[in-house]
């Protein structure tokens, strides 16, 4: 006789919402209020400082001749220290994208709220295929396409804090 059919009959009792409403199952709730402060590090530290100035800076590895975004102090391919900082453009090309109706907790967006339109954007001046994650806006979701040319929309200088969100989003050129 097959192993699974013989064995799984009485395992894992499925629960429904009703079981909780009717008090058949008790739960203990825990909401730990912890916060993390992640230091930005050497490479990303410089990246953020430059973003605050309205510039995107990449790192070049002379061995594989890649200009890398996000910048890194070591090249993961050649496994050596990267060599220099290179300023790249704030324009690029959409490598791929999504039109999302859900937020990070899988919650559905509100009625009338714009869909999230995240994209992988290959930044001009960095090596081909060097994409970064960011958001698209000022474009109807159905008009977005792979290969679309886009440009960064920066926060006003006074509002920049040295974060990836100093770029509000990318919009079509």
């Amino acid at each position: 006789m097959e192993i699974t059919a013989r064995l799984i009959e009485k395992t894992a009792t499925p629960l429904s919402h009703k079981d909780f409403v009717q008090g058949k199952v008790f739960t203990v709730d825990c909401e730990p209020d912890l916060r993390y402060a992640w230091d930005d590090g050497v490479a990303i530290g410089r990246y953020l400082k430059e973003l605050k100035q309205g510039r995107i800076m990449a790192r070049r590895c002379r061995e594989c001749d890649r200009i890398m975004l996000p910048p890194r102090m070591f090249c993961e391919r050649c496994w050596r220290i990267t060599d220099e900082w290179v300023q790249v453009e704030d324009t690029g090309t959409v490598n791929t994208f999504a039109i999302s109706h859900v937020d990070w907790t899988a919650g559905r967006i509100h009625k009338g709220q714009r869909f999230y339109t995240p994209a992988v954007i290959e930044i001009d001046g960095a090596s081909a295929g060097m994409g970064i994650l960011h958001l698209l806006d000022e474009v109807a979701p159905e008009k977005i396409f792979v290969g679309m040319r886009v440009k960064a929309v920066w926060r006003p200088e006074a509002e920049r804090v040295g974060a990836i969100t100093d770029i509000k989003y990318f919009k079509p050129v």
């Binding site: 799984i8 999504a98 937020d103 907790t105 995240p118 970064i132």
Partner: protein, 387 residues
Amino acid sequence: MGLRRVAIVGAGMTKFVRRALETPKELTYEASRMALDSCELSLKDIDTVTIGTGPDAFDGVHMNGEFLNDGAGAYRKPVMRNYVGGGTGVFAPIHGWFHVASGLFDTCLVVAEEKMSSCHPHPAGAFLTIFDHTTEQPLYPTLIWIFAMEMRRYMHTYGITKDDIALVAVKNKKNALDHPAAQIAQEITVEDVLNSEVLASPVHRLDISPTSDGAVAVVLAAEHVARRITDKPVWIDGVGYALDTAYWGTRDLCYPEYLEVAARQAYEMAGIREPHKEIHIAEPYDPFTYKELHHMEGLMLCGKGEAPKLLADGVTQRDGNLPVCPSGGLLGVGNPIAAAGLMKVVEIFLQLRGEAGKRQVPGRPTTGVAQAWGDLMQVGSVIVMRN
């Protein structure tokens, strides 16, 4: 290499459900006990235990491996927990294989468990912290976003349509109707998939496996022990695993390079030169519809961009030349992350023993492959099995 041959000799699993009454320890106990019962062993026959379980953030329990220790029968035994995200379920038996193949132990109980339902409002939120904390998390990404982007890149590169891909859900959910552990088996059409709620275009509700609770276990034994335990051992003839860079935006998402690396390692060990001819049955990881196709290509069961054609031609149906996910996969049986991968290993084990019941594929398959995938779309774990 001086390695010993290792067989799977027993298996057990719980039902996969959206929310289980049982605690993680209790689920782990059920699966472990069943695995031992299936080969008529007792805990004293087990030399060592490996535990595979996913992010601690699902359970909200730090050191989840230690937490599961008692349920897994690992009390005062040599025990190790392993974790490579969604790849854990196939990595766990590879980890167990190390222990036995090396000669250190003769038997190993491999247990994989996941209870996702404890995390609220939705376990998807637990994945926020897998993204880079400085350059990505401030944008509040979710895994569904990056999978939607990977699916689009795959479709764009090879000219694949959503209709082509939706057939995976139709096939797997139907296969799962014959699986006694299945959570969301159903008969659906391509139209049902395309008309289901859009979560993140191009991904629809029916393109995604559910969140689940469940546990699976297998017993591994060295050759001389395995032959005493059963007259139908299933041999682990090849293992492979690889992680790609966590700079996921630096990779071309159209093809799973990490999997090709892992598969080549496993095939070389198993002496497989032409996987599309020599492998009779496959359980590639299918948390999303497109991933089954993506992974068939990474496993080199067909050329790049060619998996949709095999699917459309019926080749990957249970009665086709290359049955793929005859279990019903994650899309039909369910997706308690680590346990789901090990469920695939169990499916190949049962199929190669001829004990898969209504799910049994015809033609007496002798060679099968199981595979899982995880972390930031970067890990591939592969096991080749023969009877």
